[in-house]
Amino acid sequence: MIVVSVNGDDLELEAGTTIGALVDRYVSDRSRVAVERNRAIVPRATLDEAQVEPADVIEIVTLVGGG
């Protein structure tokens, strides 16, 4: 198991977990989110290839109301 940070929470994941699989845990439609790993965009097209690495800092963001 490896530990990564997802939206500020530490999470234990199996090595080899893809970022796509991680995103699917939280959202039903990937087109509603954008993903960043260690402050760099993970393009949507590569989510199923990109595997989490130990100590990754992952951010999954979406739209909210704002001015």
Partner: protein, 259 residues
């Protein structure tokens, strides 16, 4: 009156841009958008809430993209890097390359960090973004932003969420006289007359959020903001009469039969 606002390659029929924050719910927000006549709306980016799998309506699903252009903001960013990250995430979300750039300096006043905003503008413009840069009512930073590649400069009327109106119309006039990109007053607009003041000065547009969302009757205020924008714009185009110190009769002096 066909009097569109052009920012970069984007053309908007309305000179008002309004936000999506602080409404009671999406239905109220959509009713206000409709009443205000806008075709460009601002949104923010935040973390997905990991505790709830998001089956409820997401803001993305609520916005009719045929009708509204989405202008994502970098609200809440205090560093150049965070503003750049936010802009790139917005583009990755499929929101295009329009970005309302804010690099905030101070939590209590939410006043902008002008030098950081200039640096972030330069970088984002180089990356192909159409940058609408939020800044102080300061002609020097406004011109620096234009030079850095901003497609529009957005001086504040007053601090974000304050509703104090256009506090320094003299500076806004100086900015207008010297800038070549559109000038959009952003922040501090509390009521319809504030919009009218900004537009009468000759601003190209007004961006506001809280003035509608926190009105007692937001839909009524959205109508009023639209009317204020139209009134101010038409007054600017009309060209106001000169001010004078003393009265001048509007009825003829000649031909009076009274003493």
């Amino acid at each position: 009156m066909n009097d569109a606002l052009t920012v970069g390659s984007h053309t908007f029929q309305s000179r008002l841009i309004i936000g999506s924050g602080r409404y009671a719910d999406y239905d109220q927000m959509l009713a206000c958008w409709d009443a205000s006549g806008v075709d460009c709306v601002t949104v923010a980016l935040r973390r997905v809430d990991l505790d709830h799998k998001h089956e409820e309506r997401n803001l993305i699903d609520v916005i009719d993209r045929e009708r509204y252009t989405i202008l994502p903001n970098t609200a809440g960013c205090y560093t150049i890097e965070d503003a750049l990250r936010t802009a790139r995430l917005a583009r990755e979300l499929g929101l295009g390359t329009l970005i309302k750039l804010e690099v905030i300096a101070d939590e209590q006043t939410l006043l902008p960090n002008a030098t950081a905003t200039v640096a972030a503008t330069r970088e984002l413009a180089d990356e192909g973004f159409t940058v609408l840069a939020y800044t102080n009512d300061d002609p020097v930073s406004a011109l620096a932003l234009e030079k850095a590649g901003a497609a529009a400069v957005m001086p504040l009327g007053a601090p974000i969420g304050s509703g104090l109106g256009v506090l320094n119309p003299t500076n806004i006039k100086i900015i207008l006289s010297r800038a070549s990109v559109p000038i959009i007053v952003d922040a501090g607009v509390g009521t319809a007359s504030d919009v009218a003041v900004a537009m009468e000065l000759g601003c190209d547009g007004v961006l506001l959020n809280t003035g509608i969302a926190l009105a007692q009757d937001p839909v009524q205020m959205a109508h009023a903001m639209r009317a204020g924008c139209d009134a101010g714009r038409r007054a600017f185009l009309a060209g106001r009469m000169p001010r004078r110190e003393y009265a001048a009769p509007s009825s003829p002096v000649a031909g009076r039969f009274t003493t």
